[in-house]
């Protein structure tokens, strides 16, 4: 079910003959209610046929996904890969059982799409680094030095073991605090900080190579 049209089940109880409740009015109310709803409720609504519910999920989680993708993917391809993530989410959301949080599920999906992007590139034998002129066309205000450094760091991040890369992205791309990371990874705070230090040390080694 991709962007199916259908009535919002949440409003089934509202009398359809109430003259003041025009379609636009109902849509606005629906969006307001959805803005405050939890991810779980929005997923249920999406499964019941509401496209608005997915729109709200998209708007809520796009900044996080986009920032994570931007940390590891060349600038020119960031939006495409972000779209791939949400299209994959749309396709498989109906089978999402809620065993994990939606954010965690989306994070896993993002990692898969990033890996797929690099797999496809390797298969096509395209250069991993997009020309700086192309990238700078998309990034107003960024100097070529900043872009070069970003590409350099992206490559170093790519070479890291998954758990090292993940903890760096959780802290830098998703702005998660160390106690939140510890909770997410089922570690104690000390272990998380230690993992982070080792990850930064490994990154530094790659940058120095």
């Amino acid at each position: 079910m991709l962007y199916s049209t259908g009535s919002d089940a949440i409003f089934n109880h509202i009398n359809p003959f109430t003259p003041l409740l025009t379609t636009n009015y109902m849509e606005n109310i629906s969006k307001q209610i959805y803005q405050e709803a939890s991810d779980e409720i929005l997923i249920q609504q999406y499964k019941a046929g509401s496209q608005d519910a997915f729109d709200v999920l998209y708007q809520r989680h796009l900044p996080g996904v986009y920032k994570r993708v931007r940390c590891v993917i060349p600038e020119n391809d960031v939006e495409d890969v972000t779209q791939d993530v949400f299209i994959a989410a749309l396709k498989s959301l109906s089978s999402f059982r809620g065993d994990s949080q939606f954010r965690t599920w989306l994070r896993t999906l993002t990692n898969h799409k990033v890996a797929e992007f690099y797999r496809k590139r390797t298969r096509k034998q395209e250069p991993l680094l997009a020309p700086l002129s192309e990238a700078s066309g998309r990034m107003e205000g960024a100097t070529s030095q900043v872009l070069e450094e970003r590409i350099f760091i992206q490559n170093a991040l790519k070479k890291l073991p998954e758990n090292y890369r993940e903890i760096i992205l959780l802290r830098f791309a998703e702005d998660m605090q160390f106690n939140e990371i510890a909770e997410l990874t089922h570690q104690n705070l000390e272990a998380s900080k230690s993992l982070f230090r080792r990850a930064i040390a490994a990154l530094r080694n790659h940058l120095d190579e």
């Binding site: 708007q59 796009l62 920032k67 931007r70 939006e79 970003r150 760091i153 900080k193 230090r197 530094r204």
Partner: protein, 160 residues
């Protein structure tokens, strides 16, 4: 330095690096701390490099809306490009009442031609055998099945 002392130093370094990272990301620090040296200094420099290279400008609402529009456009475009599978097209064709009827009749005729050639033999043909012999039973069975299939088909297609 013994093992426990080394471990305790590593824990201390981990905590200091985590605090340093928090302060850098909160915008409270922009350069390495002056009282560190050795490995920790290098790690703090790496944190600063990461901070400056990872884009920090968040997406604004307008950008989010634009991206959403582009996503929907792509979904619609891909949906148009994807050809429905053969079986789906076939079901669509036979679900039209007239075509479905024609298909059912054709199916029954084909079954009859294949399984009971005696029905279509030209001219007088000698009939041999006994009434309700196995071959005759078979023909009746085939015709009954075909009729049954047609009935089921029209029952499924009845207006609800």
């Amino acid at each position: 330095m013994d093992q426990s002392g080394k471990n305790s130093n590593l824990i201390k370094d981990s905590n200091r690096l985590a605090d340093f990272t928090d302060q850098v990301l909160n915008g409270k620090l922009e350069k390495v701390e002056s009282n560190v040296d050795g490995e920790l200094l290098g790690l703090e420099e790496t944190i600063l490099r990461l901070k400056s290279s990872i884009p920090s400008t968040p997406l604004d609402q307008a950008a989010i809306k634009q991206m959403q529009v582009r996503l929907k456009t792509r979904i619609q475009r891909e949906a148009r490009e994807v050809q429905p599978p053969f079986w789906k097209k076939w079901i669509e064709i036979i679900s039209r009442p007239q075509l479905g009827m024609a298909f059912a009749v054709a199916l029954v005729l084909v079954v009859l031609v294949i399984f009971s050639p005696s029905l279509f033999t030209a001219g007088p043909a000698p009939l041999t055998g006994t009434a309700l012999a196995p071959s005759s039973t078979k023909n009746i069975l085939i015709v009954s099945i075909a009729a049954g299939v047609m009935l089921i088909f029209f029952w499924m297609k009845r207006p609800k």
